[in-house]
């Protein structure tokens, strides 16, 4: 009798039936608070600071596509009036010209872009311009990818992507800012 009594007391258990509910509660909390947000943006590698005494390397004028943007969002490409939405086509034309048109670059390798933006230009306008330029290059890379590899640019392997990027490498020079008078 005495033994029986002892054994009964020996098996204390925490009720585990509600364990799942507790875990569920936590799970739902984390599911609700989780935001899987990815940072998106347009990349740029800045040039290292320049020595003011150094002379810029000689570049043929025709190889440079000069894009000027004023504070009102008006665009001047190679001294001709243009618009933001036309930049994309002009970038493509300039880069793939291969000497055909006198106003554009001699070859893809030599093609350069020069962008100069007024200090008063809004960031939004600058982003539109920069986006257009990047879209121009992206279009060229996409075309190159489907032509050479027969697959969309997005699905290329790393090496192939590098090749496509190298073929139409972004050579953009942002004009050195002038010392502000302030």
């Amino acid at each position: 009798m005495a033994l029986m009594k002892k054994r009964k007391r020996d098996t204390p258990e925490i009720p585990s039936a509600s364990m799942a509910d507790i875990a569920f509660l936590l799970l739902i909390f984390f599911m609700v608070t989780t935001t899987i947000d990815v940072d998106t943006g347009i990349g740029l590698v800045l040039p290292p600071p320049v020595d003011p005494s150094a002379t810029p390397p000689p570049i043929k004028q025709r190889n440079v596509l000069k894009i000027l943007v004023n504070s009102a969002g008006q665009v001047l490409v190679n001294d001709e009036e243009s618009s933001i939405s036309m930049i994309r086509e002009l970038v493509k034309k300039h880069t793939t010209n291969n000497g055909a048109d006198e106003r554009f670059a001699e070859s893809t390798e030599k093609a350069l872009l020069s962008v100069k933006v007024d200090r008063e230009t809004s960031y939004d306008i600058f982003m539109k311009v920069y986006d257009e330029i990047n879209m121009g290059y992206l279009d060229l890379r996409r075309a190159y990818a489907s032509q050479t590899y027969g697959t969309p640019y997005e699905r290329l392997s790393d090496a192939q992507k590098k090749d496509a990027d190298e073929k139409y490498r972004k050579k953009i020079s942002f004009a050195e800012p002038e010392q502000s008078s302030k």
Binding site: D39, P47, P48, M127
Partner: protein, 140 residues
Amino acid sequence: MKFEKKQANTKQEIPTASMPDIIFMLLFFFMVTTTLRDTTLLVKFVLPKAEAIEKIDKKRFVSYIFVGNDERIQIDDAIVDLQKIEKIMAQRRIDIPQLIVSLRVDRDQKMGIITDIQQKLRNADALRVNYSAKPKEKQL
């Protein structure tokens, strides 16, 4: 007697003993993937929209500079002076050699302030920059 026979002697319950384990597994997944926002934004900004955007998948290399609609500049949890950016970023560059500086700038800001920041970044040798932008809605 007849009634007793009808009763099946197999268990009809789904074993729920492993239920907590399954749930915990899911829980850990979400706990690991959750990144609670570690900086409180002191400035207000609306990001511009762009089409040719890339994702930054190496988040641990990224350092943010926020520029709000009142031209204030925030790095981490504090509003900083333009002149201090160079020093801060030069230090970061030493800590993280692959540093990417993400510029989250209000779209109505003038380019002047951005050029100024970029000059500081160039001096600090933090050359990889990302202009943060939201993807454009696809046109139908």
